[in-house]
C-alpha cells in the first residue's frame, strides 16, 4: 500500500467518523433537551422548527410497522446496503469514494439509532406557509449531499 493510498484511507476514515459524530452530537443534544423539558417543540424561525419524532421505518415514513420482526428485517437490509457501500468504496478509485463515504457516515448514524434506540430520532422540520417537508436529521442531510454528488458525478461521468 503506497503512501497516497494510506492518505486516502485516513482521509476517508476521518470523514466517516466526523459525519457520524456530528450526527450523534446533534441527536444527543436534542435528546438531552427532551429529557430536561419533556418534549421538543422549538420555533427557530418561520421556516424552521425543531420537533422530535421517532421513525421506526425507512425514508419518507415508509415501512413503519410496530412488528418487531419486520423492523429487524428492515434493519438487516439496511446493514446489507451499508456493507455493499463499503464494498463499493473499497473498489472505487475516483472521487465517488468520498461521496460514498459521506452517504455511509450518515447511514451509520441512522443505523446506530435503529440498533440503540429501536427508532431513529428526526427533529428538523422545514416548512413554508404551513407546508411541511419531511422531518429529518443531520444524518439525512449528509446522505442527501452524498447522493446528489453521486448523481451529478454519474451524469457528468466524472473521472479523476
Amino acid at each position: 500500500m503506497n503512501s497516497e493510498k494510506i492518505k486516502k484511507v485516513i482521509i476517508g476514515i476521518i470523514l466517516l467518523v466526523l459525519i457520524f459524530f456530528l450526527d450523534r452530537i446533534t441527536k444527543i443534544l436534542i435528546l438531552n433537551i427532551v429529557e430536561e423539558t419533556g418534549k421538543l417543540d422549538i420555533y427557530v424561525n418561520s421556516f424552521l422548527n425543531l420537533y422530535l419524532v421517532w421513525n421506526k421505518g425507512i425514508g419518507f415514513g415508509l415501512l413503519s410497522f410496530d412488528q418487531k420482526s419486520t423492523y429487524n428485517v428492515i434493519s438487516l437490509l439496511i446493514l446489507l446496503i451499508n456493507l455493499i457501500i463499503i464494498y463499493l468504496i473499497y473498489n472505487e478509485k475516483s472521487i465517488k469514494t468520498y461521496f460514498l463515504l459521506v452517504i455511509l457516515g450518515g447511514s451509520f448514524g441512522n443505523l446506530f439509532d435503529r440498533i440503540y434506540y429501536n427508532a431513529v430520532p428526526d427533529f428538523i422540520d422545514l416548512n413554508y406557509k404551513g407546508y411541511h417537508w419531511f422531518i429529518f436529521n443531520v444524518a439525512d442531510i449528509f446522505i442527501t449531499l452524498g447522493i446528489l454528488c453521486l448523481i451529478f458525478s454519474e451524469l457528468l461521468n466524472y473521472k479523476k
Partner: protein, 107 residues
Amino acid sequence: MIKKKLNILTIIIITIFLYSCQSAKDAFQSKKRSDQSDEFLVQKKNPLVMPPDFEKLPTPGNQEFYKEEITDSSDIKDLLKIKENNNQENNFDQPTGIESTILKKIQ
C-alpha cells in the same frame, strides 16, 4: 445513457432505505392526539346509582324518623350526663385527706 439512468435509479431506491425522514403530517397528527389526551382529559365519573339506604331517607311529610333520632340522641346524652353527675357526686361523697382531718377534729 440507459446504464447511467439505471445507476441513478438504483442509487435513489437504495438510499430510501438509508434515510430516516418521517412525514410531518403523521407527526403533527399524533401530536394533536397526544395534546388532546393530556390537555382535555376529564376524570371519568361513575354512573349514577341509587344509594343502598335510599328507602330510609325521610320524606317531607314524615317527621317521625327525626323525632326518633332526636329522642335516641337525647337519651344517650341524658345517660351520659347522669353518669357524669354520678361520677361527680361520687367524687363529692368521698372526702379528701384535708377534709377528713378537719371533720375528725370537729367531731
